[in-house]
Amino acid sequence: MNRIEKKLKEEEKILSVYFTAGFPRLDDTLEIISKLEKSNVDLIEVGIPFSDPLADGETIQRSSKKAIGNGMTIHKLFTQLKHLRKTVKIPVILMGYLNPIMQFGIEKFCLKSKEIGVDGLIIPDLPIEIFLEEYFDLFNKINLFNIFLITPQTSEERIKLIDRNSKGFIYMVSSSSITGSKKNLEDTSFKYFDKISKMNLNNPTIVGFGISNRKTYEKVIRKSKGAIIGSSFINFIEQNSLDNIGEFIKKFR
């Protein structure tokens, strides 16, 4: 069984954390993963930095730029994560824009991810139509989950298409925005979460974008399977020692 699937069954609610690989320092990646696991985080999304992250706000743009400057590449990331599964038990997802993955080789990237124990991928600029046509069989064969995004603007018909072809969970973007641009979520977001839960989808949803404090986190997990914290975690590790990661997570649960 894929670790994502298992985790979703075991835990009532999921707290997932996103960070950019190679930030703040090139070799922090594995240490951050371990510290997050020790802090009882359920799921980790490791971001692969790209020079032109067009769905990301200032924080992730900054961490990506710094990480690239530090020398982070996909090759480097796979080296850092080579022994991931000697210590880390929780599911790990790699998240990255298509171009760096394409230059590495998409098939090679999937196989290598699987080999080191990565459980899923999020490739925001790979549309579902192209995924289904060109990569579905590959992902299916190696039991690697591809996680899709939906937003408040996604039509019902399209949500159903995404739901039919999703494994694990659906990444529910909380509002029409880029990452890290909202401090709090507005009522419209919660109305949208209600609308989605009424659709009775096959897959659970985990909410990302705009979750930066306990209050929002708690409100969000009442309406979904879980929440993803990204920009606010990156801001935290930019300014604090990695030893304090546990304290940061305690601010949420």
């Binding site: 032109d52 200032e58 171009n99 937003t151 996604t154």
Partner: protein, 393 residues
């Protein structure tokens, strides 16, 4: 038609719409509506009227007598530099603002590098009384002050793109982020034949008025409606796409595309995407891109701010792959010299982008009766400061 975009938005191996889900509704709305709108009678009527009365079309097809004599061949210039605002860019912005109105959009965003597309967008927004936000790299704002002032005079808000390398590609990222944040009321006017489908096709169609006019004008002057050669400079490729459009399937017409080599192809300071690029994904399109082996986009360089885009429209990548066009690249100094030459032989001060195209006259040999049509895509006023510095005028 081999060079027409297919249903999924591809030209051969290039194109498509590689966009995050957040942009899907915006792009889908355009995809579903753009052909219906731009082929409608009302649109054609308004578009043609504005092109004639506001832009000043048709632009002349001018027989460059002295230049032809010097190179012993027949050289025509398609005078897009005479368009209102000084370049071909306005053909596209007029079309897209009409489209935005049909879609009931209340706000326009655009990216700009040198500022030409920004000015053309700010102009049509003023014309229609629609709010306008232009994203421009911090670096470009500093080096293109007159165009920034023009946009402001026209009532546009110019926002600094401070991310990445702070130039055109980052301004494009910022505009796309704005569109993600404003999915309902905003239309994004992309300035070139780049970006996700349907932009490359839509912008090509709107610019195709250039080759449509060339056909009529050549018939009058040469007794045949096609030339032997079409020559244009290519950054993203919109003036080139407009010049080539109606000739793409006419095998009698040879097509030449001129890229900016900057300080030289191998100097590390170049914008020659075809020569230096590899297939990849940027700004929602699969095309040839300047990038390092890890897939990070490389910031291009050219003395002309309108050619330093790290990608190229997917149509052009396809034309290159299928050998439909010959791609050459030209260094800064050759282009600058041609800026001066064209000024002094024909009395036309070209934009530095445009000047690149003429350099092929020094490297290729043409027959006496060959008919060459150059796209004189823009005028040089905006480049005066660069010319002044370079030639110590």
């Amino acid at each position: 038609m081999k060079y027409k975009v297919d249903e999924k938005g591809f030209y051969g191996n290039f194109g498509g719409a590689y966009i995050p889900e957040m942009l899907y509704p915006n792009i889908n709305e355009l995809k579903v509506n753009y052909l219906k709108i731009i082929n409608s009678k009302n649109f054609r009527k308004d578009f043609e009227k504005l092109l004639a009365e506001y832009v000043g079309r048709p632009t002349p097809l001018y027989f460059a007598e002295r230049l032809s004599e010097k190179y012993n061949t027949k050289i025509y210039l398609k005078r897009e530099d005479l368009c209102h605002t000084g370049a071909h860019k306005i053909n596209n912005t007029i079309g897209q603002i009409l489209l935005a109105k049909s879609l009931n959009k209340k706000r326009i965003i655009a990216e700009t590098g040198a500022g030409q597309h920004g000015v053309a967008t700010a102009t049509v927004c003023a014309l229609m009384g629609i709010d306008c936000v232009i994203y421009m790299g911090e670096v470009d704002i500093k080096r293109q002050a007159p165009n920034v002032a023009r946009m402001k005079m026209l009532g546009a808000q110019v926002k600094e793109a401070k991310s990445g390398s702070k130039t055109l590609k980052d301004a494009t990222n910022e505009a796309m982020r704005d569109w993600i944040n404003n999915p309902k009321d905003t239309h994004y006017i992309i300035g070139s034949v780049v970006g996700p489908h349907p932009y490359p096709d839509m912008v090509s169609r709107l610019q195709s008025v250039i080759s449509e006019e060339v056909k009529t004008q050549l018939l009058e002057k040469e007794g045949r409606n096609y030339p032997d050669y079409l020559i244009a400079c290519v950054g993203g490729g919109s003036n080139a796409a407009g010049l080539y459009y109606h000739y793409l399937n006419n095998k009698k017409v040879k097509i030449i595309a001129v890229e900016a080599a900057g300080k030289g192809i191998n100097s590390g300071k170049s914008a020659a995407t075809i020569k230096l690029g590899k297939i990849g994904i940027m700004h929602g399109s699969k095309t040839l891109l300047m990038q390092n082996e890890d897939g990070q986009i490389i910031e291009p360089y050219s003395i002309s701010a309108g050619l330093d885009y790290p990608g190229i429209g997917p149509l052009h990548s396809h034309m290159y792959e299928t050998k439909r066009a010959k791609f050459v690249s030209v260094n800064d100094n050759e282009a600058m010299d041609w800026g001066l030459t064209l000024s002094q032989i024909e009395g036309i001060i070209p934009a530095i982008e445009t000047a690149h195209a003429f350099s092929i006259l020094d490297t290729m040999v043409f027959k006496k009766n060959d008919v060459l049509v150059f796209n004189c895509s823009g005028r040089g006023d905006k480049d005066l400061e660069t010319y002044i510095k370079y030639f110590k005028l």
